[in-house]
């Protein structure tokens, strides 16, 4: 049992480290290091531009989308090399957040289902960040129940005509392309009448409206489709086989390992180390210590769970199911951590904003952003279902809409 690199891994790490040291935008390192949930911004710079520039620089030197084939803009690297890169990229990896959907979900879906010419055309600029992609699955009527979506695609000649509405689309407002899941046959059961496409987000009839979130920020959008035309050549997979195509996408969403989930613990530990309470330093207060210890072991448990997965990759094996706990644990933990940090501040904890709030409002921002972490990318409840069904082998839910034609499924709970 050890944490050591193999000689090849060590060589790769040294190469990555040297390149990053010579090329990373170090003027932003401090701010990126201090960034926390709900608060990633660079003073005096447009973070999107900085992110795109960094991604392009990486791509030109062969450090973008490491695990993708070289022909598609990647490096053809092994899974463990990808993890080592992420470890070395450190705070600069936070600049990649605008590419996560494109690189993590759209790219792999294109790779699996697009034609060879399309892959060569679309994937390299996606890898280099010159083109940004989004994923158009969720709808007002289909969140956790993605297959309940209602956006229609109707065939007219060699084209499909799209009408409907998507929601919770991260980055749609700055995306160039998107992958789109639609309903092509409402007369069959809901999973059997879906079809996947990719489209140019600048197509006529696409309208993007930002959603003002509960925390006041706008990371997500509603996207409206009015008679949007997509050529049949941009269909991914067979007609009415979109559900299986989307499973590829979603599988990739949950495969990312080593990036490290944010728990808020390091921030809280630092805060408690400097905070004075009425009767002395917070860190010497027994009640505070008990709380901290409980979160400390969750944070370390997640860290070493991820180390176990990385070890499996290093041996050339597929990681076990244990990595599926990360999002579930971190999501509610960061919310609890933020709540407690405000509790320690007393009445002043209610103050928000960088000037008046404690530690420049770090925990207030975290608190207000946290509810989203427990919903996006699979709610806590969906994550528990996945663990229960795929890891523990418990039965799936009894689905009352499974064998019912989609257009016969009730749409309202109370009349």
């Amino acid at each position: 049992m050890n944490f050591d690199d193999t000689p090849q891994e060590a060589a790769f790490r040294a190469e990555a480290k040297a390149w990053i040291a010579a090329n990373a935008p170090k003027q932003y390192e401090d701010e990126l290091r201090k960034a926390s949930l709900g608060r990633v911004a660079l003073k005096g710079a447009n973070i999107l531009e900085v992110a795109k520039a960094w991604q392009k620089k990486k791509a030109d030197a062969g450090w973008a989308c490491l695990h993708w084939p070289k022909d598609y803009g990647g490096r053809g690297a092994s899974p463990i090399e990808r993890v080592i890169w992420q470890q070395e990229e450190g705070p600069f990896g936070r600049l990649s957040s605008m590419f996560i959907i494109g690189h993590g979900m759209c790219g792999p879906t294109m790779m699996a289902f697009a034609g060879e010419e399309q892959k060569r055309k679309y994937l390299p600029p996606l890898a280099s960040g010159e083109k940004v992609w989004c994923q158009l699955f969720s709808e007002p009527a289909g969140g956790s129940d993605v297959a309940g979506l209602r956006t229609r695609a109707e065939k007219q000649g060699d084209e499909w005509v799209i009408n409907g509405q998507k929601i919770w689309t991260s980055g749609a407002h700055y995306s160039d392309y998107g992958i789109l899941l639609t309903r092509t046959d409402p007369d069959v059961a809901k999973h059997k009448g879906l079809t996947m496409f990719f489209l140019d987000m600048k197509s006529p009839g696409v309208e993007v409206r930002p959603i003002k979130q509960a925390n006041g920020a706008s990371d997500f959008n509603e996207v409206y489709f009015t008679d949007v035309r997509i050529p049949d050549s941009q269909r991914l997979g067979n007609v009415n086989d979109g559900w299986n195509v989307s499973l590829t996408t979603l599988m990739n969403e949950r495969m990312s390992i080593g990036a490290g989930v944010s728990t808020g613990f390091p921030e809280l530990f630092d805060f408690c180390n400097s905070l004075m309470l009425e009767d002395g330093p917070a860190i010497e207060n027994r009640a505070v210590r008990a709380k901290l210890a409980n979160w400390a072991v969750k944070a370390s448990g997640l860290k070493y769970t991820s180390m176990r997965a990385i070890s499996a990759l290093s041996r050339g094996e597929r990681p076990g199911p244990e990595n599926s706990i990360g999002k579930l644990v971190a999501g509610s933990m960061i919310q609890d951590v933020a709540t407690y940090a405000l509790d320690l501040q007393g009445a002043a904890g209610a103050l928000n904003g960088p000037e008046d709030a404690e530690v420049a409002g770090k925990f207030q921002a975290m608190l207000l952003r946290a509810p989203g972490t427990r919903v996006e990318g699979g709610t806590d409840e969906i994550m528990r279902n996945i663990i229960a069904e795929r890891v523990l082998g418990l039965p799936g839910d009894i689905r009352v809409d499974k064998d019912v034609p989609f257009n016969k499924i009730p749409t309202k709970g109370r009349a």
Binding site: V297, T305, A312, N385
Partner: protein, 375 residues
């Protein structure tokens, strides 16, 4: 990076699991639970024959000379099987104390007997309620004899010898405490059996009246040794706890698959599924913390104090959580004597206290993290 046990160590775990599933089925555990025997003597002998008792004891002292990683995988299986034997007292506490502080002669005297199953040992630390603290030690050592009362002493009624923490000074500092080895079968020792919430493991009160005692380690260094022993035992016990947590989770899962209510397996209800998913989460967090503890223990890393506390806290929480919710999944049947659920519940809650309770380790973890931060 290979943050995992080796293939040989995993093979040893499989061997231990096979041996224990044959030699220590729930029926055997119940012999002790029902008071028919103080511990499973046949199993103890079998463990010695398998080489498990001395797996981390060097060959020159009669052990297998493997190491602590091997002991970790065996500990996990002992916990999984709820083995009703004084393994933790003898192997994690007494043997480790002698390995850390014993003279060559003491090692020659006791370690081969531990490895062969001929001597049961324990650590006599506590004196009534409270967590480990040098201030709580009032048993005195003067002129080679001990006086005072230790309670509770795990497996004290079946132990042949004890490592005893006693007061040898009155400066108010840790250096007032020294360790001794006492032959519990000799004169001046009175042992009274006490009832444990975990009926598969014994507890005792031991009274020393001018009991002959041999110093273990240098005078005044007892507390430093105790701290090291507790850290090592915390990691090893955490593996037992993870083994128990995993088994309780499996029992709950299996029952949820088999039990039909309202026309469907209860494991198809989200309320039950989510409870089991949460049990999996805590068992997984604990296992990962334990692996880190195992790494620190086996490499004698400077991180051991912090890693041991994290493993202890995480594994204690996981075992308690899984044991209690296993009963909940079982419903009324889980609350019967006949079903095995309560045996895990009892073990989970007793083992949570033996090396110091959660609040003790929480405090220790934050202390140790602060020290590391300051360094």
């Amino acid at each position: 990076m290979n943050f995992d046990f080796s293939d040989e160590q995993k093979q040893m775990r499989d061997e231990a699991r096979k041996f224990l599933s044959e030699q220590c089925p729930p029926k055997a555990v119940r012999e002790v639970l029902d008071g028919k025997a103080p511990y499973d003597k046949a199993l103890w002998k079998g463990l010695a024959e398998m080489g498990f008792l001395g797996v981390a004891i060097p060959e020159q002292f009669g052990g297998a000379g493997a190491g602590h990683l091997e002991l970790c995988v065996i500990a996990e299986e002992m916990g999984r099987a709820l083995a009703p034997v004084p393994f933790s007292s003898t192997v994690y506490l007494a043997a480790e104390a002698i390995l850390i502080a014993g003279s060559d002669a003491q090692k020659q005297k006791w370690l081969p007997k531990i490895a062969s199953g001929d001597a049961i040992g324990t650590l006599a630390l506590f004196e009534g309620k409270g967590n480990p603290s040098p201030k709580a030690i009032n048993v005195t050592a003067n002129g080679g004899v001990l006086n005072g009362v230790k309670k509770p002493v795990a497996d004290g009624a079946i132990a042949d010898f004890a490592v005893v923490a006693a007061r040898t000074g009155s400066s108010g500092r840790e250096s007032d405490i020294s360790l001794f080895i006492v032959d519990l079968k000799a004169g001046g020792v009175e042992v009274k059996s006490l009832t444990n919430i975990d009926l598969t493991r014994g507890q005792a009160e031991i009274t020393f009246k001018d009991a002959k005692a041999e110093p273990l380690g240098a005078a005044g260094e007892g507390w430093s040794v105790i701290t090291q022993v507790l850290d090592r035992a915390a990691v090893l016990t955490a593996f037992e706890q993870v083994g128990g947590a995993d088994r309780a989770l499996e029992m709950g899962r299996d029952y949820a698959l088999d039990r039909i209510a309202f026309g469907r397996p209860i494991g198809s209800f989200q309320a039950v599924k989510h409870m089991l998913a949460d049990m999996y989460v805590s068992a997984t967090l604990a296992r990962s913390n334990c692996y880190y503890g195992a790494w620190a223990l086996s490499t004698n890393a400077g991180e051991l104090p912090e890693a041991a506390a994290a493993a202890r806290i995480s594994a204690t929480q996981a075992f308690q959580h899984c044991a209690k919710n296993n009963i909940q999944v079982h419903g009324g049947m889980g609350f019967t004597w006949e079903f095995d659920c309560h045996m895990y519940y009892r073990r989970a809650n007793a083992v949570a206290l033996g090396l110091g309770s959660l609040s003790y380790w929480e405090d220790a973890l934050i202390d140790r993290m602060r020290k590391k931060n300051a360094a």
